[in-house]
Every structure is written in C-alpha cells, then in structure tokens.
C-alpha cells in the first residue's frame, strides 16, 4: 500500500473558531476512504481545504509525495484531485454529453487562436475531448442518454453525470461530497455500484456521506471527525463499535 494523500495537523480557523483542527489524515492508494461525523463536524471545510477552495490556517497537505498546501483549486485539479459538490451545478440547458466535454479542458493546450483558426491541435484536442466524454459517459452508465438535455434526466442520473464530470479530468484521487444527498434511498444502490467501479478502475476515492448503510458497505476505512478533530479511524466494523464514535453520534452515557 502506498500513501496517495496525507495531511499533517491540518487546521482552519474562521475568526478564532476552528472548523478543522490539527487533523492528521491519510488515504492509501486504491482504497475508498469515508469521512463521517455529526453535523458541523467540519467535514466540508476539510474537503474545501484539500481541494484548494480554502487556504489552510496551519498544517500541510501532501498529495503523491508532493506538497500542495495553499495551491488554488484549479492547480490542485491539475495535480490530479477532482471533486464533486453537494449541489450539482450542471449546464441545465445543454445536452448530457456537452456537460462532460469540458472535463478534458485541463488536458488540452489549445488557446483561442487555435479555436479561431481550427488548427490541427484544436481539432485533435476537440476530438480527444469528445472521445473522453463518450468513454466516461459509458463508464457512468449514461451512454444512452448522451444526446438528451440535462433537464430531462433524473436526479440520480444527474448525480452520476456530476461524478462523470469529475472523472473526465482523469483524476488519481476523487473527492465526493455527499454523493447520495438529494437522491432517494432506493436509488443509492446504483450509486454505490458506480463508486465501487471507480475504485476498481484504479482511482482512489474519498467521500463524505451521511447515509450510514452506504458508508458501511462501501468504505474500506472510515475517518470520523467531531468538533473539527479526528476522533477515530478504522474499518467500518471498528468504527461501529468505537465508543467515541457512538458517543459523538448518539450522545454520551448510553442508557441501553
């Protein structure tokens, strides 16, 4: 096992309050790591730090043996970390396939002169981007829907499309922020299948999720945050029986 991502005492404070404090976190290459914790535990802030949306107040982030602390979001993406958001922002008026083509942008070198003169580079890159989009679309199971308007596909399909957009950047690490938020429980099955498939294709996955059944079935390891601090880490089995976790979730002094 090799480490793909680790943070060392990562900290973020907002006006004196620490949303994330001294979190040491690591993800092994090829695993599915889940980050869980009660509301307000700092999970989203933690993702925002890793993906470069927020500059950390302290600590380090190392990705594939390279320090990425403080890099802006687009530079983090270029290093090979992709992410999704809780709310999906797709291009509502366009076709499903069109939403994915842009995912290949970071792999293209063409500038506006290329596009005006349709240079061979432009044509090659456009073709590659389209091929990439098709491939990803098949991968996330939306190949059939390629030429349908985004407005007309289901919420769950939109989720998969949003994940597809992140995959289209060909990341080595994929961060999923509550992939199952906003979809009905009976639809999570196909999503879990997709996440497993992503891992099997060699991409490391790290996700925040509230739906516990999903997390327990999916994750290889789980990190639990509470009050911005890491309180536990381990396999689903270990986490489920960890007293600190139970206390964080259900409150102390178990009466049962």
């Amino acid at each position: 096992m090799t480490l793909i991502l680790n943070t060392e005492s990562l900290t973020k404070t907002f006006g004196g309050l620490s949303a994330v404090s001294t979190v040491d976190f690591n993800v092994q290459k090829g695993e599915i790591m889940a980050v869980i914790g009660p509301n307000g535990a700092g999970k989203s802030t933690f993702f925002n730090l890793i993906s470069g949306f927020l500059p950390p107040s302290g600590g380090r982030i190392v990705f594939s043996e390279e320090e990425i602390t403080g890099l802006p979001a687009h530079a983090v993406a270029l290093k090979g970390i992709a992410r999704t958001f809780q709310t999906t922002h797709l291009f509502p008026n366009s076709l499903v396939i069109d939403n994915l083509i842009i995912g290949n942008r970071l792999r293209t070198r063409m500038n506006f002169m290329d596009s005006i003169f349709k240079t061979s580079r432009a044509r090659r890159e456009e073709r590659e981007s389209l091929d990439n989009a098709r491939e990803i679309l098949d991968f996330v199971g939306l190949g059939e829907a390629a030429s349908r308007p985004v407005d007309s596909i289901s919420q769950e399909a939109k989720k998969r499309l949003a994940i597809g957009l992140a995959l289209a950047t060909r990341p080595r690490l994929l961060l999923l922020d509550e992939p199952a938020a906003g979809i009905n429980f009976n639809e999570t099955e196909s999503l879990m299948h997709l996440i497993n498939k992503i891992r099997d294709s060699g991409i490391t996955v790290c996700l925040i999720e509230h739906k516990m059944k999903m997390v327990m079935n999916l994750a290889d390891r789980i990190t639990v945050l509470n009050y911005g601090m890491k309180i536990a880490e381990g396999t689903p089995g270990e986490i489920q029986s960890d007293l600190r976790v139970i206390e964080a979730y259900l409150g102390g002094n178990e009466v049962a």
Binding site: S44, I102, R105, E125
Partner: protein, 353 residues
Amino acid sequence: MTPSINSLRSGKAIYLALGLLALALPYIITSKYLLHVVIMCYMYAIAIYGLNLILGYTGQLSLAHAGFYGIGAYTVGILTLKLHWSFWLALPAACILASLAGILVGLISLRLKSHYFTIFSLCVGLILFLTIEHWDSLTEGVRGLIGVPPPNPIPLPGGGSIVFTDLNAQYYLVLLCLVFTIFVMNRIINSMVGRTFMAIRNSEELASTIGINVFTSKLLSFVISAFFAGLAGALFAGYIRFLGPPMSHPNMTFEFLLMLLIGGQGTLAGPLVGALLVNTVTESLQFMQSYRYVVFGPFLILVVMFFPRGITGGYYSLKNRIRLKKQPRAAHKEAPPVLAADHAKTKSEELRG
C-alpha cells in the same frame, strides 16, 4: 453546448440564404436611409457580440463596454485626423488599444465578485467617458472630433478604386467585419475555449475544480469583448466621421445591453437579431427620439422577467421542447423545487462543515 451547434448543421441552407440576402441588400433596398440604418445595426451588432461573450457566455455583467467602443472610435479619429494615418492602419491600432485597455481594466476588476465587478466596470466606463470629454487637447472635448476622414480608397488591380464615400462600399466593409465577428464568435463558442467560458458562467467553483483557471479565462473573454467593442468603434469613426463624447457614455452600454437582452444573451444570433430589431423599432418610432426609453425601460424589465434569454433563447427552448415531446421516452417532467421563496443556501453555509 448551445443548441446552435445543431442548428448550424441543419440550417446551413438558411445561413447561406441569409448571407446572400446580406450581400444583395444594397441592391434590394434602394433607400439610402434604410441602408444607413442597416449599417448602424451591423456596427452595433459587432460591439454587442463583444458584450455577449463576456455577459452571455461568461456570465459577467460589464458596464464599461461603451468605454472600449469609445476608445476604438477615438483612436481611429485621432490617428487619421491629427496624425494622418491611413484608416487601414488605424483600424487594427484601435482594436489593439481597446484590447490593451481591456487587459488593464480586467486585471483589476475581474478579481471582484458579481456586483462589485459590475459597479467597478460602470465606474471604469464613466472614467473613460469623462477622460474623453475632458481631455480637450487630444479629443477636442465636448466639441467632438469633426471631419474624420473616411477609409482610404483601395486601388483595384484593374485601375480605379473602391471609394468609401460611397454608402455601398461602407456597407460591404461593415458587413465584412460583421461576418468576421460572427465567424470568430462561432469558432470560439463551439470550441473548448467557449466551453471554458460557459463553465465559468455556470459555476466558478465547479470550473476551478475541473482545472480551469477562472481568472485568466475571464480575462481572455473580457479582452476579446473589448477588442470587438474597439472594432465597432473604429468602423463608426470611419463611417459617421464625427465623434462626440456621448458615444462612450454608459448610456451607450445600456443601449447595447438592451439590444443584447432582447435578441438573446448567450446565443449566437442574439446580438444581430437584437440590434436589427431594436434599431428598426427605434427608427420607426423616430418621433419619440430620446423618449423611447419610456417604452424600452419597462420593456427591458419585462424581458429579464419573462424572457431572460431573449428572442433567440426563447426560440431555442421552444424548439427543444418540441423535440423533447417527439422523443418517445421523454422523461418525466421534474416538479419545480418547492423551496419557499427566498432562502437559498448562502455560500458561507455551503462552505461550513
């Protein structure tokens, strides 16, 4: 990404017909006055294509546009009138200068978020206007630049030359530039570069997570937008041959905005449709002159309320809807979100843990 991709393929015949019509226009309409109106429409359309790129495709409302238009016009005016440059040299110089101004303004302003950017751009627009109005030694201030020479004649190989005191010659010059503009815009918006702009319009956050440098992309869009404003201004100088400060006033930007919104922002045909429509209506309401805003003001409000994507956008969504209906496995229509009135999640909430 826009429906225009499809319509471009299917509607080649229509575009060809429209092109031929545009070419034959001076021989179809005999009224010099009408031809003049069309020339003005084309000129405005060029400037509006610039505005469309930054507002319609990149999602940033810039109110400095008339400033760049003014820079283009005055560059040509000053270079040809005072320094006796050839129009054909002054024209690219005007475009370059407008673009340079765009870079400068963009470098400062594009870091700002939506309303700050809009307010800032309005101030920039006013600064440019006030500078033009007050820099007497260069721009002749409120008197304006009078007697800008027309574009220099182009000698023809077989003797004789194209003379630009002729209305038809002016028409073809402006038409050529308009075609160039549409060509460039079409190429841009149907390429990865255009998709990049639209990704930013959609969500700056999402755009940056897929590796797009939002700032430099916005800057590029802004500069191209300024370039075309400059081009339109330059043509104006060579055609109208009188330049006064009002052409660079933010009110001019508002006019562009009106035409763009009515035509349809974020569509390829929008600027031209808007320019032609609004100007024809304005001209037919000649008697109203400056009062026309009594009608246009409320109209602008109604357009953003009911047709935020303008005529062209409305046409496309209608077409889409029909296409969807035809599709046998049309998906269930999604119910609109029931979120009561206004409490959309604020960004700070989303960022919180």
